[in-house]
Amino acid sequence: MRPISTSALRPYVCPSCRYARVSNRRRFGSKPAPVTDIYDVVCVGGGPAGLALLAALRASPATSKLKVALVESQDLDKARSWKLDPHQFSNRVSSLTPSSVSFLQKIGAWDRLDVSRTQPYQGMEVWDGETGSKISFDWSAETSPFEDLRTVATMTENANLVHALLSRIAASGDENLSIFSKSTVSSIENGAADGPNGADLSAWPVLSIAPAGPARQTTSPSRIAARLLVGADGINSPVRRYADISTDGWDYERHGIVATLSLADQVPPLFPLGTRNAYQRFLPALGGPIALLPLPDNNATLVWSTTVENAAYLKSLSPGAFIAMVNAAFRLSMPDLQYMMRMERPSPSVTNLDEDPHESELTWRLQHTPAPSHLPPMVTGVQEGTVASFPLRFRHASTYISPRVALVGDAAHVIHPLAGQGLNLGLGDVASLSSTIEYAVTHGMDVGDILTLERYTAERYATNAKIGGTCDILHKLYNVPGQGPVAWGRSLGFEIIDRVPFLKGFLMRNADS
């Protein structure tokens, strides 16, 4: 953690700006440009977490009078005009828990979402590909016949959410609000001891904001001071580096493959009609689980965590072979899958094949594999250009706060996606931080003071550590291949959870918090 004494603060200078700063100094001497503006809250990063914080602050009457700014390197105009064909879906989709949804409702962002593009699901089938033991999460046992079936989570495209948040922020007016789009933070340093109004800003972060791209050389950066600087700037957070907050973690040496898929009709349909299920099968022999999460109509989004080599192999397959592999991954045994993962790929020049070798391999092997009752419908298509992969990592900052600094979302924690909790944790951070700021404003507290911020870290640190840690343990448990004692133990755990209704209800309520 950054020590409180100001002399120990280390400025953050973005790597590409270091040279420019030196030449700048040579030209103008060592005196930096004066601070042009002082903001109450400056948020670096305009992803879902940063925008949700801004929207939450604008929505509450107590905090709506705060002077706030947001800095984002991407062009937010593109996100504002986001429009996709109704039959197409982005591959960046998040599973929002009911508490995330109610937070978004509370800040008035949910109404601005294109709800026809979201898909709630009420049940979840999770099973172990090695032992076949299974656990079904659904709310039917917990819901009385007189109320609607409870939702496990709602699948929402990130672009849809960002679009809704931007529209909510725009609706709050532009008084006391500055959005620096297509701008990068070129440096964060402490202010001068002789600031405006005779104020001593030597413990205040001062950001130099320069337009991104070619305009950078010609325009002089604006310098703004922040009462509270919020880092919503992702895994390599510059704000975290400025605050000198260390972060612990490891890379899983796994990649997550995502894709937008279309499915065959569900036969027989789920009861009650209109309900949807999510499916997840752990594949210990391939390095992680495969999950299929529902999107509107017969579409679904895929998240398949697997080894880096498998991910590269899957991405290189033709659409037909890729679909065959996804269907196989939900149905075939581990040895069958390992075999198919090493099959020769037909060279691109051979185009006159009647059937892709992966497809015929799957058709043949399925005839000899018993089918359990909880399988998802067959995948029939993959939307062009949606197959992508990203590295899986675990990170947790040593603290989320420092004087005049708070971290939210990926800047504070990055977790394994197997429970789909990443964005939910980020929104939980934002809900907590915005209510902390609201409390401070109504109680005469300085919103950047450590006494204010410690309420936030006290509320979130243990929760995030618990969920991140659980995902990490599940990942490790389900990477032990074969039928050894670990496989036996985890099957026993699954069976117990599945059969004891009280325990399952407890877990489901916990997953939602």
Binding site: I4, I38, N197, G198, A199, L201, H443, G444, M445, L451
Partner: protein
């Protein structure tokens, strides 16, 4: 387990200290000094860590938001403003006086709620509805610490520059002795004496007295009663005098003297912070406050006739107990005022 209050009261101990740099026109004699030399050195040693959030004043810092909550509850019960308020008049008009501000923990937090002129905030009613605050403390070093800290916030610093927020190094008696100013931020006509320019002609709307009353030594010249009387003399009709203190009971002795001042890691306040026999029970405080109200009315009228209970017409008394839970902070706990820390308030009848 609920633990009562272990609250260091350093902010206020200095209230009655004779400032070392006192000038000769002082209105009080040294005989009325109410704080012992050992207490002076005790609190001076803590001065540098006053604003350290992890330092010895931490428990006091944690209590500050509850002071705002209690003040908001007083304002909700009765506004110091006259009921015939014009619809178009400015929304935040209350003038605050913080007596015994110490390092400025409360005064600065209140100053932060004053909107800057022309800002969006100034167009609507704030929680404290504050227009100005004057904070007094006789200890020069503490006033200096308070001023230095206020400079670290540009908003508070702007208020200091423009006179909406003032730190004055004087005693309550100095303020009483000075002539009321004419409500200008700095009236040169009244600039005589240490408390010059503090007193307002039509009184203050809100006077705060946090963690002060239990540090007053009773002697021939000063007692909690004379002290409260002086405060009430500066209060305008309809205004509130708000404070906090600790009840003198066995649990408060155990918690404040035995547990809270125990050596690390049990104790949370420095040894020598409290003197249990000076703690004040709510019923004692209420009777002093009523008596003080009658005396202040007498002094205002300057008549030989003692005013009776009509001085108490429209008076309001309220108190609310608070308990410190280690790890959770301070919480309002109804009923705890009879044995532990509590907030109290008296409203002068209109």
């Amino acid at each position: 387990m609920a633990m009562t209050p272990a609250r260091p009261s350093m902010r206020s101990i200095s209230l009655l200290l004779r400032p070392l740099s006192r000038r000769s026109h002082s209105t009080t004699t040294s005989a009325s000094s109410s704080v012992s030399a050992s207490e002076v050195s005790h609190f001076s040693s803590l001065a540098s860590s006053w604003w350290d959030p992890m330092g010895p004043s931490r428990v006091l810092h944690l209590m500050n938001p509850l002071r705002h909550e209690f003040i908001a509850s007083c304002l909700a019960e009765g506004s110091p403003e006259s009921p015939a308020k014009q619809p178009g008049s400015p929304p935040n008009t209350l003038h605050y006086l913080d007596v015994g501000c110490g390092g400025g923990i409360f005064a600065e937090s209140l100053a932060r709620t004053i909107p800057l002129p022309g800002s969006t905030e100034s167009k609507s009613e704030t929680v404290t509805r504050a227009a100005s605050i004057t904070a007094i403390d006789p200890t020069t070093t503490l006033i200096q610490i308070a001023r230095d800290h206020a400079r670290k916030d540009p908003k508070v610093s702007a208020h200091l520059n423009d006179g909406r927020f003032k730190y004055v190094n004087c005693t309550l008696e100095d303020v009483i002795a000075s002539s009321p100013n004419t409500n200008q931020p700095s009236d040169p006509a009244a600039a005589i004496g240490a408390g010059a320019g503090v007193r307002r002609k039509d009184g203050f709307d809100m006077i705060t007295l946090f963690e002060v009353i239990e540090h007053i030594d009773t002697n021939a010249h000063i007692s909690p009663l004379t002290f409260l009387t002086d405060c009430l003399r500066l209060l305008k009709p309809g205004g509130w005098l708000v404070g906090s203190t600790i009840a003198r009971t066995f649990p408060s002795w155990l918690v404040n003297q035995v547990i809270a001042e125990a050596p690390w890691p049990i104790g949370v306040v420095p040894k020598g912070t409290h003197e249990w026999k000076k703690f004040v029970n709510p019923d004692e405080l209420e009777s002093w406050a009523s008596e003080g109200l009658m005396r202040s009315v007498d002094l205002e009228r300057n008549s030989v006739m003692r005013s009776g209970s009509e001085a108490l017409d429209g008076m309001r008394w309220k108190c609310a107990g608070v308990v410190y839970f280690p790890g959770l902070g301070w919480k309002f706990v109804p009923g705890s005022e009879s044995w532990g820390n509590y907030f109290w308030a008296i409203r002068r009848g209109v």
